[in-house]
Amino acid sequence: MRNTLLFSIALSSAVALAGTAWAADRGRDGELRLLYWQAPSTMMPFLSGGTKELEASSVVIEPLARYDNDGKMHAWLAEEIPTVANGGVAEDLKSITWKIKRGIKWSDGSELTSADAVFTYEYCSHPDTGCTSSNYFNDIVSVDAVDSHTVRINFSVAKPFPYAPFVGYNAPIIQKAQFDGCIGAKAQECTEQNFNPIGTGPFKVVDFKPNDVIVFEANELYREEGKPAFSSLLFKGGGDATSAARSVLETSEMHYAWNLQVEPEILAKMAEVGKGTIIAGFGTSVERLMVNFTNPDPNLGDDRAEYLGGNNNRNPHPFLSDYAVRRALSLAIDRQILVDAGYGSAGKIGCNVLPAPAIYASDANDECKTQNVDEANHILDHAGWVRGSDGVRAKNGVRLSILYQTSTNSVRQGTQAFIKEMWKAIGVETELRNLSASVFFGGDPASPDTYQKFYADIEMYTNNFSGTDPETYMANWTCKQVSRRANTWGGGNMPRWCNPDYDALSTEMSKTADLDDRIRLAKAMNDMLMQDYAMIPLIHRGGVSAFSNVIEGPRGNEWDSELWNIADWHLK
């Protein structure tokens, strides 16, 4: 079992990943043109946290280890991945020791040392920096430079999964010499440094125009011979996903376009031209319906959609608190149609909130794979929900009338339309609402329209976790995490679903180090959520990109930057 684990890690160095068999000169292939329709606003990943900025900066600054497109961890700037077996991780799981490869040069010619890693920790953990990756440095007591190329991270608690700091595109290493004066509140004002970070990666910044375009050139001091194959990199931003796909698949103006959430038939039509290829990488993203367990009635004032404590939930939703209704809503959905119409190859039927890594994926909930309208109707009949003259079911004067909200996005509105129609077949009436993404995901406590406030019966969005360890992610649905007024709607538990048994599993997982036990716990938690229909999963979503047929190398990646292996990209 242990060998198949994601974080039982390829010990191979990055060299083994090399795709090209023939050695050749660095920069032989000229310009590589990438299109990110959301343009990066800065090159400093710690001050943005947005995926687009993380992707752009990943070609310049690098972490100690990084995930490949299968979610497997590879040593990057480090010599190897520390494990308990090789002595890199302490037996008590309270420290991890990384050995940095010798001889790696920053693009200004100085050498990468453990001081840079220590500095990166200091930079990101400083309270005034506003570091968007600070949660990757949680529970750290100290980061010590053991010698010039060894760095030890000491944790305050046992960390069964100690691979958050300095791993992946969220937590790379920045150069101490460059950012020394930029720590704390000063971080905001270091525009020059933030736009032109010095890195160890295959490219270096030549010109950065925020929210528009970045020009990179090959890093002459990059550690691998003959890489990157391209002499320069044009990273253009702006526009929309459809035309981004068009520029690769139809006009070939661009070599690569990222994040193409476009209806599958549009992509398929463009791909018919034969100039490019569409790839989808799957990670942990699941498009799901959140079920509100509290009453969102506007007449309740401050108690609207508010969890009023107690195991019995003193402010229950008028009908979604009924297990039969939740189960019927899930059974009525034909997920295959949603996949075909909205996602194509970038989606799979999703029956779990924790669909990946594969070792964690439960198969106990496969009932959801097939739509069963008869069964759904039967359940509702049985539970006493009777159809009225308008075809809508009701019981004790409560009608099954749902307000279903999500963010504005043509695929999501399509899904809404389908589900409304599917629910109509079981006597449920649905009012659809779409909200601007910047408001819906904005989290402004003054706005009634945020997904955290959840002033609706059902809401739909995608959530995921970064890295490969689900512990924090699964802890989202504990009672403590209920999103409510007291925590200014800051909790991750949107359904306001509270179950002491679940909390117990979550606590147990945070204390369990053995991987097989962790898998068992994670699966149990997933099944508990799914079988009580606290959430109704719809689609296991992938990230879609397109690349021109003249280049070779892109693999996609949902675990790390899609440009993780850009040093290996080359012209055919």
Binding site: T242, V262, E263, E265, I266, K269, P298, D334, I337, A341, T408, S410, Q413, G414, Q416, A417, F418, K420, E421, E431, L432, R433, N434, L435, S436, V439, F440, A446, S447, P448, D449
Partner: protein
């Protein structure tokens, strides 16, 4: 010049207006087309008999065929049914929002141009409205008013009032400035000063002498306003300010269809054609009205 106005008053003015209007061929065609569109969108749905929100999972992205005369969209909606339903909303929004903007714009423009003491304050107000960032303003208004209106008038009427109000209140400024500029110039012309000197009352001067002379720009504003309102409505729905997503409108059909132009072109052609036809017919009706209301032309 002035005598022409006074003479016509003895006869029935509106008979004259109608007589003059009928002479305008473009206007008649405009009335005909406009009436056709109105009848189509209101009488069409029962004849066509397809629910615009009905989904046929198997009939997605169809080209026009017997069962779906304008084809279907990527969800499996019948495009014709959506066009007809969308027309009702778009026409209602377009006409009422343009009317609000027109009335506000003309009123503020005339007052600012004609009443000296109001000129400064009203033009500063116009400056303020011109400089407001539209999107954040809309987001704020939806936050403040949506739930109140929804509670008072129900989800659809509430949203309708909000949309029409918002578009109207944020698009009168161009009309106001153009009208004011014209009024400033016209009120110094001989026939107005003459009217003043014979003691004509001020509101009479406005209605008899000033308004008829600035009708053309007002009519142009009206036609532009309708097109603007129909398109703006579709933009609003992206902010979550518009109608619910299962509520088709022409602007929205056009926007949603644009990405599918290579697959099902009829999804974009028809909304585009109908928006243009509506605007074109209103324009010609406006032309005819202007000519008919112009006292100088009516005398001929």
């Amino acid at each position: 010049m002035d005598s022409a106005v006074i003479e016509t008053e003895h006869r029935s003015m509106w008979t004259d207006v109608w007589r003059q209007f009928r002479k305008h061929k473009g206007a008649l065609v405009g009335v005909f087309v406009f009436a056709f569109i109105i009848i189509a969108v209101f009488v069409g749905p029962p004849i066509h008999g397809v629910d615009p929100n009905a989904i046929d999972f198997k009939a997605r992205n169809l080209s026009p065929e017997w069962a779906h005369p304008l084809g279907t969209d990527n969800i499996g909606h019948d495009t014709l049914a959506q066009m007809l339903a969308g027309g009702q909303v778009s026409l209602a929004v377009g006409l009422s929002a343009a009317l609000i903007a027109l009335i506000l714009g003309t009123l503020i423009g005339v007052l600012a141009g004609f009443v000296k003491s109001l000129n400064g304050p009203l033009m500063r107000l116009t400056d303020v409205f011109l400089s407001l960032p539209l999107l954040p303003l809309l987001l704020v208004s939806i936050m403040l008013f949506r739930d109140t209106l929804r509670a008072a008038f129900g989800p659809e009427t509430g949203i309708f009032l909000l949309i029409v109000g918002l578009i109207g209140v944020t698009s009168w400024m161009h009309t106001a400035r153009i009208v004011r500029g014209d009024v400033l110039s016209i009120k110094e012309r001989e026939f107005v000063t003459a009217a003043h000197s014979i003691g004509t009352r001020r509101h009479r001067i406005v209605f008899r002498h000033i308004l008829p002379n600035i009708l053309s720009p007002i009519m142009v504003s009206a036609t532009l306003g309708i097109a603007n309102a129909i398109i703006t409505e579709s933009a609003l729905s992206f902010l979550g300010l518009g109608f619910p997503p299962d509520f088709p409108t022409w602007g929205r059909l056009l926007y949603d269809g644009t990405n599918f132009i290579q697959i099902t072109p009829s999804r974009v052609i028809w909304p585009g054609v109908f928006i243009a036809l509506t605007v074109l017919s209103v324009n010609y009706i406006g032309d005819g009205l202007r000519d008919a209301l112009d006292p100088r032309l009516r005398g001929r």
